[in-house]
Assembly symmetry: C2
Homo-oligomer: 201 residues x 2
DNA sequence: CGCGCAGCCGAACGATCGTTCGGTCGGAAC
DNA sequence: GTTCCGACCGAACGATCGTTCGGCTGCGCG
C-alpha cells in the first residue's frame, strides 16, 4: 500500500516521522517560552531538528501551528462541559466538577491551554479562539449565577465578579504548574478547597 | 529661567508637552492591546500624534519605554510591603491588608501592572523585572506560611500552593477589570471574601 | 535683529521576519 | 533500470522592524 511509505523517516536513522501533531507540540512549547511573536520559524525548525525550508514541507505556516494548538486546547475545555458531572445535579456540584476537571485539563494540555490564555487577538485566528474561550467562560458564569439563585453560595457574592475570580484562580495555574512537582490529584483538591472554602480556618 | 521653555508645545496648539510619563502611558496601553513585540514604534508614535522620528526625540528606545512602565508597576507593588498594615499585626491580617491593597494598586496602575504580569523574560530588562516580581511574590508566600504556622488558616492548606493560588486570583484581575465598571471598594471586598472565605455558604 | 535650539519630519539604514522556489537525494514502485 | 516522489536543503524574496541622520521651522533670549 502506498500509505505504508508514510511511516518512519526516509533518510538516516530518524526516530520520528515529523507528524503534524509532534511539530505543533514543539511549536507550542516554544511559543510559550518566548511568546508567539518573538518566536521565529527559524527557532521552531531548529527545535524540530530540520531547516526552515524543510519545516515548511510539513506545516502550512506559523499561524496554522497556532491554530492547531488552540484547537487542541479548546477541544479539551469544551469536552468538560459535556461530561455527565457537568450536566446533571445541583448547580454547585456541577460547578465543582467543572473546576476540578478544568484543573486536570490545564495540567495535561498545559502548553496548548497556556497559549490560549495568553492570546491578544491580533489575527483572525486569535480572535476566533478568543470568542470560543469566551463561550466557555460564559457557561461557567451561568453556573455560578445558578448556584447563587439556588442559595448554595454566600449570599453577598456578585455572580459576574465571582465567576471571573473563579476562572482567574484556575487559569493562573499555567503561570507556575509544571508536571511532576505537585501530584495532580493534590492540586485538584487544593484548588477545589481554595475556591469553595477559602483560606481562613 | 531656561526650564520654563520646557512648558507647553512650541508648535501649533499642542495641548501636551510630551513628557516622558505621558508617552510611557501611551506605550503601556498599546503594549497591552497588541503585545510588546507586536507593537511597532510606528504604532506608538502614531498613538502619540507625532512621527516615528519625532518620537525618538523624547524617548531613548522601545525597551526604555518598557523599563519605565515596569518600574512604575514594581514601585506600586513594593510600596505596599512597607505600609504599617503590612508590617504590624497577626500574619493573617497582614496578608489581608496586602491582598486588599494589591487589588487597589492593580486597579489604579492597571496598564503598568498588566505589562509586568505578562513578561516572558526575553531581554535583560524583562528578566530584571521578573526577578523583582518574584521577590514580591515570595514576601507574600512567606506571610501565607506564617499564617499557617499561627493556625489562622485551614490546617490542610499547602502554603506554597495556596500562595500561588492567592496571587493568581488577585493578578487575574488584569484580564477583565476596567475602571468605572465595578466600584473599586466593592471589588476589594469581593476579592477579600473570595480568597479568605471561599464561595460556599 | 540674529543666533541657538527644542520640536518635528522624511528618508534611509541594516537586520530580521515569514514565506517561496529550484534543486538534490535516495528508497519504493513497476 | 528507469521513473517517481517525499524529505530535505540553500538561497533568496518582499515586507517590516527598531533606529539613525540631516535638515527644516519658528519661538525665546540676548
Amino acid at each position: 500500500m502506498a500509505s505504508d511509505a508514510r511511516r518512519a523517516g526516509r533518510r538516516s536513522g530518524n526516530p520520528e516521522p515529523y507528524t503534524l501533531a509532534s511539530l505543533v507540540e514543539v511549536a507550542a512549547r516554544a511559543f510559550n517560552e518566548r511568546g508567539y511573536d518573538a518566536t521565529s520559524m527559524e527557532d521552531l525548525s531548529r527545535a524540530a531538528g530540520i531547516t526552515k525550508s524543510s519545516f515548511y514541507h510539513h506545516v502550512a505556516g506559523k499561524e496554522a501551528l497556532l491554530r492547531a494548538a488552540l484547537d487542541r486546547a479548546l477541544d479539551g475545555l469544551f469536552g468538560i462541559l459535556g461530561e455527565p458531572g457537568a450536566v446533571d445535579g445541583e448547580p454547585l456540584e456541577r460547578l465543582r466538577h467543572i473546576v476540578r476537571r478544568q484543573v486536570e485539563v490545564l495540567a495535561t494540555e498545559l502548553p496548548y491551554v497556556t497559549l490560549l490564555l495568553r492570546l491578544r487577538g491580533n489575527t483572525e485566528t486569535e480572535r476566533w479562539a478568543l470568542a470560543r474561550r469566551r463561550e466557555f467562560d460564559q457557561a461557567v458564569a451561568g453556573l455560578v449565577a445558578a448556584a447563587v439563585d439556588a442559595g448554595a453560595v454566600r449570599p453577598d457574592v456578585h455572580p459576574v465578579v465571582a465567576a471571573r475570580l473563579l476562572s482567574g484562580t484556575v487559569n493562573s495555574l499555567i503561570e507556575w504548574y509544571r508536571p511532576g512537582r505537585v501530584p495532580l490529584a493534590d492540586l485538584v483538591d487544593a484548588v477545589d478547597r481554595q475556591v469553595f472554602e477559602g483560606l481562613r480556618r
